[in-house]
Every structure is written in C-alpha cells, then in structure tokens.
C-alpha cells in the first residue's frame, strides 16, 4: 500500500472542510448537551423516569425508531434514548458522505488526477478521505462525551454515548470508502452508502420490535445500540465496530488497486446512437429516473416492513404491564395507528431528503456548465427550472403514495381487512404538503443563488431537531411550529383536518414561485 503524501492531502481536505466539519460536530454536541441538561428538569423523580421510560418501552413506534430504554431508572438512559442509535446513524451518514466527498467526488471532477500525478501514493487520496471521516467520528465522540459529563451525567455512560456515536461514524467511514470504489459517479456512491445505512438501521429496528432479536447482531448499528449507555456500558462492542471499519477500509483499498482512476468497478456500457429525449422536461426525467426508481423500491419495501410489523409487534403485547399501558392508550388498534403514524412521519422526513437531493441536480447542472447547453437552445430559464421542480414535487408525492401502498398492502394482508389499505394511503398522502414546503425552500434557495442550494439541507436538519428532539432538549414549544412537518395532522392516529394542509400547499407554492422568479433574474454561475 502506497500512502505517500497522505498527510498533505489530509491537511488540504481539512482546510476545505474548516467550516463544514466543525459546524456538524457542534450540532451533534449541542443536541446531546442540551438533552443531558434538560432531562433532570423534565423528570425530577425516579418515579417520573420509570413511568416515562415504561411508556416509551410500551410504544412500538418509538422503540422501532429509537430502540428501547434499557434501564428505566437511569437518568442518562432516558435523556439519550432518542439519540443513541439514531445519533449513531446520523454520525455514520455524515462520515460516509465526508469520505465520498473527498474521494469519489474529487475523482469524478478530475481533481484526483491532478493530485495523483504529483508525488502522491496510489492509496493516499482514499486514505486521506478516510482519515477525514475518522477525525469527524472521533471529534464528535470525544466532545459529546466530555460535554455530557460536564452537564452532570454519570461519566461512564457519557463515554459510552461517545463510543456509540464514534463507532457508528467509524463503521460508515468504511462503508463510504467501499461505496466510493464501486461507481464512477459520486451521486451513485452516496446512494449505495445511504442504502447500506438504511438497511442496517431497519435490521436493528426489526430486532427491537419483533421476535427476531438476532437481527441486531448482523447490523453495525445494532452493535452500536447494544453498547447500551447508562445501562451496562458494554464498551467491548467497540471492538467489532472498529474491526468492521478496518476490514471495510482494507477492502476499499484492495478494490481501488484493481481499478483505473476515474472508473467504477462496472465498465460503462455503450448507449444508443440516436436519442429519444427531445425536451427539457424529458431530459429532467432522464436525469432523475434512476434515483427515483431506486427510492421507489426502497420506500415500498420499507412500507411493506412497517405494515407487517403493525400486527407483529411481537414481544410488546406479552407482559401484563404493557397490556395495561396499551389499554390506557385506547387498545391495540390505537397503538397500531400510532405506530403507522410515527413511521410515516419518518418516511416523510426521508422523502424530504429525496426532494432536496433531486433539486440539487439543478445546482450540479449549473456549476458543470451543462445548463448552458440547454439554455442556449431556446429553452427558457423558467421552463427549465420548472421542469426539475415539478418533477421533484410529483416524485415526492409518488414516493409518499408508494410508502402508503406498501404499508397498506402488508397491513391489509395480515388483518384481511380491505379498508386498511385506503386509510394507510390517506395517512401517507397527508404528509405530501409538508414535503413540498421543504422542496419549496430548496427551490427558493437555488433560485436566489446556486451556492445557497446546500443550505436547504440545514432546513431539513432543523426540522428533525425541532420536531424529534425539541422535547428532550426542552426547546420552547414554538420552535416545533417552524417545521412544516409539525403542522401535518398525524393520520391515522389523529383525525383529518384540511386547513393546515391548504396552508402548507400555499406556502410551498409561494416558495417555489419565488424561486422561479429569482432564477429568471440572476446570473448563471461561471461554467
């Protein structure tokens, strides 16, 4: 393995990320620290904690997404139950994206070739990208552990939280490194890494709410979760996480040694000599379709999984205490509705991510100069942008529909109850206006300036933070209202209300129109 020059490349990479990386570390540390600081006020007595924790553990929707509270008496376990494995997954996502950004994305743009022609070893570019991921994971882990301990929680548990997060980051640094070797395009590599992440997350979710507990052990995120901070602190599980990361990085290095610079593992196939695409919207469809197809399959499978879990919330209905709790919630049906509603809420956040990623294609078209090929043919700016935006809005609605169909089909197949399909689909579709608002923000930012497009992700992250963690962080309640998702009637758990949906559609339309208007008036970025 030839890694000469790694340090120089690493310095350059860290310089490029001197704002981005510290900002991310800060977001993770701030969320963890404020949760740690808020918990004592929210649950002052042991009695409060036990009843809160038992309520969580009796709610399959929460357990599926965040994992159970492993020690119902522990202050730390309750403070962090939402942040353990979910946080590890987010750190993993960040690390995988960082590695791809500094390896495959640079390679695709031809920068790596420039660097590789210097006195730099064959493996140095990938190695430096991996080190960026490792540094990110360790920084988040160390700072999180330190600030939580400073907030007054038990030190060993705080270190365990740091281990869970850093471990998730390290494992997916490896996944990102492998994904970056497989495809010639960075976008496809990101898709592979995110798919692995989602599968790993789903495996542990299924393990938590069904009888298939073994599934947690085939997922790196399962290992991270099983560290169980504040409830045993099983530090030994860091070993498989690190081994997984080392093996993955080694595999990535081996794959890289077998391929040419700039190519993926699969050789490009020739295309047709004559084209059928003949319009701007046709081109947009062509550019979006592969990703959309992947997402369609993904959300359908997730929907099927959620739908089949509804009636199989295995171990949950066994203990008398849980049964009692479920009774108090209004019976089995209500619990199932809450489960579907929560999962749909998460699907809607993910589909918001799809929408932003689809809209970011416009930025890629502009900064690569490809946009000028199209705009100098008599295609108007508004027509071009509207093509991408409308396609994105329709695709977001389509993915939401497919999620609902997936849930409903599995649900109905299990209950033998036809109407479940219809009600699950309706429950899914009410989320569409909120997703459109997120997309509208993306469209507005792109219209105002191509460089601003990246900030639309901050908006989605803010929706997750205020919507999911606002309570545990003890944020003022108005902050939740900033997120469009919090205005959606949470069908099927809550009744249908048309007014908020109309408002969301109006806001989305205004944002989109603003984006189109601004785009008509600004300079194109230099090609």
């Amino acid at each position: 393995m030839n890694t000469a020059g790694t340090w120089k490349l690493l310095r350059m990479a860290l310089r490029r990320d001197r704002i981005l990386l510290p900002a991310w570390v800060l977001v993770f540390v701030a969320v963890a620290a404020s949760s740690a600081a808020a918990v004592e006020g929210l649950y002052p007595s042991v009695q409060d904690r036990v009843s809160a924790a038992e309520a969580v553990n009796s709610t399959p929707a929460l357990v599926a997404i965040y994992g159970p509270v492993y020690d119902v008496r522990s202050l730390g376990a309750l403070a962090f139950f939402k942040l353990i494995v979910f946080g590890a997954a987010l750190v993993g996502l960040l690390c995988a994206l960082l590695v791809i950004r500094h390896s495959r994305a640079d390679e695709e743009l031809g920068r790596t070739e420039l660097v590789a022609s210097g006195a730099v070893g064959r493996h140095a570019p990938l190695m430096s990208a991996v080190l960026v991921g490792v540094i990110g994971a360790l920084a988040i882990g160390v700072f999180t552990a330190a600030t939580c301990a400073a907030a007054g929680l038990e030190a060993s548990g705080c270190i365990a939280v740091g281990v869970v997060w850093a471990g998730g980051g390290l494992a997916f640094t490896g996944v990102g490194a492998v994904a970056a070797q497989l495809t010639a395009g960075a976008r496809a590599a990101r898709g592979i890494a995110v798919t692995v992440l989602v599968v790993a997350y789903v495996l542990r979710a299924v393990a938590d709410v069904s009888d298939a507990g073994w599934m947690a052990w085939v997922s790196p995120l399962g290992w991270a979760q099983q560290v169980r901070p504040f409830a045993g602190d099983r530090f030994v599980l860091l070993v498989p996480l690190v081994v997984f990361a080392v093996v993955a990085v080694g595999a990535a290095m081996a794959l890289q040694a077998r391929r040419d610079l700039g190519s993926g593992l699969v050789a490009a196939r020739p295309g047709p000599a004559e084209g059928r695409v003949g319009s701007a919207i046709g081109l947009a469809v062509r550019l979006h379709r592969a990703t959309l197809a992947g997402w369609t399959v993904g959300v359908f499978l997730l929907g099927l999984l959620v739908g089949s879990l509804v009636t199989h919330l295995g171990g949950f209905f066994d203990s008398p205490r849980v049964r009692e709790f479920i009774e108090s919630m209004g019976g089995k049906g209500e619990v199932a509705d809450a489960f579907v509603s929560t999962e749909l809420g998460f699907a809607a956040l993910a589909i918001g991510g799809y929408a932003l990623s689809a809209l970011s294609r416009m930025r890629a078209e502009e900064s690569s100069g490809r946009i000028e090929n199209v705009l100098t043919t008599g295609t108007g700016r508004v027509a071009w942008m509207a093509g991408h935006v409308v396609l994105t809005l329709v695709a977001a609605a389509w993915l939401t529909l497919v999620t609902g169909v997936g849930i409903g089909m599995a649900h109905a197949a299990q209950t033998g109850h036809g109407p479940d399909l219809g009600s699950d689909i309706t429950a899914a579709l009410v989320r569409v206006p909120a997703i459109w608002v997120v997309a509208g923000v993306g469209a507005l930012l792109f219209g105002l300036g191509g460089r601003l497009t990246a900030y639309s992700w901050a908006v989605l992250v803010a929706c997750v933070v205020v919507g999911e963690f606002g309570k545990v962080m003890n944020l003022p309640s108005w902050t939740a209202d900033v997120s469009p998702y919090s205005h959606v009637p949470a069908l099927p758990a809550v009744g249908f209300q048309p007014a908020p949906l109309v408002w969301l559609v109006v806001v989305a339309a205004a944002l989109t129109a603003g984006g189109l208007f601004a785009f008509r008036r600004r300079d194109m970025a230099a090609g």
């Binding site: 490009a268 020739p270 295309g271 490809r370």
Partner: protein
C-alpha cells in the same frame, strides 16, 4: 449589410472585479468574425452576456436585433453555441445529446447530422463520461452545425481537436459562411483565424484594442525591410513611420509602419536598389504586439471567471 451582434460600451462587474470595461464589438451578417485576446481578457464573459447567461452591468447589447437578456428564448432558436469547456451528461450517449440539443432548437436535419458525424469521425454510442475533451467538443459541434440557425457562437471550439479534425472544422465553417451564416469565433489558433476570419476584434483587459480585417490590421503594424543599395544610403530617420534604422555600408535594415512603406520605397528607389527583402508582419507578431501587457500591468484577479 446589417449587424447580427452590436455591443457598445459594455461593462460587467463581478463584485469589485471589472471583467469588461467598455467593450465594443460588431459582427456583420454573413461574416466570420474572430474574437481574440489573451486569457482572462473577457472573451467568455462577453459571449455569456451575448447568450443571456449573464446580465451586463451597463452598456448596450443587441443580438440578432433583440435584447439577449430579455428575448433570450426567442433569440436562442436562431443561434447555436459551442462552449470552450464542454461538459456532457455522464449517463447520456453522444447521439442522445446531439438529438436532444437539436430537438430543443426545433428539429434535427438528419442528413446533415449523419454527414457531420462521419466527417468528424465521431462514435455516437459512448456515454458522456467516456468521451475525451476533443470528442465532447465534437458532439456539441455536430449538434450546433447540424441545426438550421443564423448565427454560430463558437468559444474556442477546436481547443481539444486534433489537427486533422481542426482541418475538418475549418472546411465546415467555410461552408457555413458560404451558405450565409454569421459566425463569432473565439480562438487562440492563429492559423485558424487567418484561414477563416473576415474580420477580427482583439480585446485585452475587457476593452477593445483593435478591430478590422486582417489586411487592415497588418497595415497598422510594421514591415521589416532589408535592402542593399547601389549608392550611398540616404538619410531615412526623418521619414514618417520609420524606425530601428541600422546602416552597414550600402546595406540598410529597418522597420517601417506598413502604411508608409510606399514613401520609403520611393526614397530608396531614388538611391537605386540592388536587392530588397521586405517582410510583412507575421500574424504571430501582429498578435503578440497586441497581447503584450501594457506598462500599467494589472494584477490577475484572485477570483472571477
């Protein structure tokens, strides 16, 4: 003759950096107009303003009788553009790109397309990612040349082509001119400019330094003369346009402004000429004279196109 491009007093600022500083440019209908200047002079910025991608800070721009910013969509139906740095969609084949761009312009002339593909020796089935720079350029060239438009805007179109393909390009542009199309050709290949262009504009630091036919430009530069006379060399220093006089016995070497060549020859002829070598300025000298940095060298901007 009407002008297809009329630019006057065009200014474009990027933040505090002034990319264009009162530029003038006029392209007549049916001519091939060379657009020259050192790197960073503002050629691509001018072209991108002409295409409505950027909006000029001040000054007036007319393209095919319209305003390139306001009437972009309608004007673009009547022109075709080849950027200097061609980027193609990685997942689309060359054939797909040519057909897409052609249809967006309102239709592809299949026969013309096939003819151009053959002449440029282009493999249409490769995907965008797999093409070399020259081949990417050929894809967009074929798309532009196969469309039925009045004006071709070509920004360094041959910078990646091999000499054989550059020759094909010249032939094709010649044919385009013969069929009455106007061409704005930005290029650094002097032989190409000499072979193709009716008139040229040379710009530097966002301003014109020279416009005219090559013959006119030659006229403005010096011819070097090396003569051996029958008799004594007459005093020449007083003659207009003459400088760098070097006398060695009956032999004289000097530089003369081409416009004053006649006067010089009359004077030398009176003394009786034995041998005479007169060398018109090469294109290279002509351009280097204009490209050369002036006294007040402006620093390269750190940012900007």
């Amino acid at each position: 003759m009407t002008a297809v491009i009329e630019v006057s007093g065009l200014v474009k600022d990027f933040g505090s950096f002034r990319a264009l500083d009162g530029l003038d440019l006029e392209v007549q209908q049916g001519e091939v107009h060379g657009f020259l200047g050192p790197n960073g002079a503002g050629k691509s910025t001018t072209i991108r303003i002409l295409l409505g991608m950027l909006r000029g800070t001040s000054g007036s721009v007319r393209l095919l009788g319209g305003d390139p910013w306001r009437d972009a969509t309608t004007l673009h139906k009547r022109l075709a553009y080849v950027p200097g740095d061609v980027n193609l969609w990685p997942q689309l084949s060359g054939g797909e790109v040519i057909d897409l761009l052609g249809r967006l312009r309102g239709g592809v002339d299949e026969r013309r397309r096939d003819e151009l593909v053959q002449r440029f020796g282009l493999d249409l089935t490769k995907k965008g990612r797999a093409y070399s720079k020259g081949n990417r350029q050929k894809v967009v060239l074929v798309a532009a040349l196969a469309s039925d438009v009045e004006l071709l805007v070509l920004d360094e179109p041959t910078s990646g082509l091999d000499p054989l393909m550059a020759e094909v390009f010249r032939e094709v542009v010649d044919e385009e001119r013969d069929s009455g199309r106007s061409v704005l050709l930005s290029s650094h290949v002097l032989a190409e400019v000499e072979a193709l262009c009716d008139r040229v504009s040379i710009i530097r630091d966002g301003r014109n330094v020279e416009t005219g036919s090559l013959a006119e430009l030659r006229h403005l530069t010096d011819t070097s003369v090396d003569a051996t006379l029958r008799g004594e060399v007459p005093p020449l220093d007083g003659l207009p346009g003459v400088h760098g006089v070097h006398v060695e016995g009956r032999r004289v070497q000097l530089q003369v402004a081409t416009a004053h060549l006649g006067d010089l020859l009359t004077r030398l002829g009176a003394a009786g000429i034995e041998t005479l070598v007169s060398q018109p300025p090469t294109l290279e000298q002509l351009f280097l004279q204009h490209y050369d940095q002036p006294e007040d060298v402006r620093p390269e901007p750190a940012v900007g196109p």
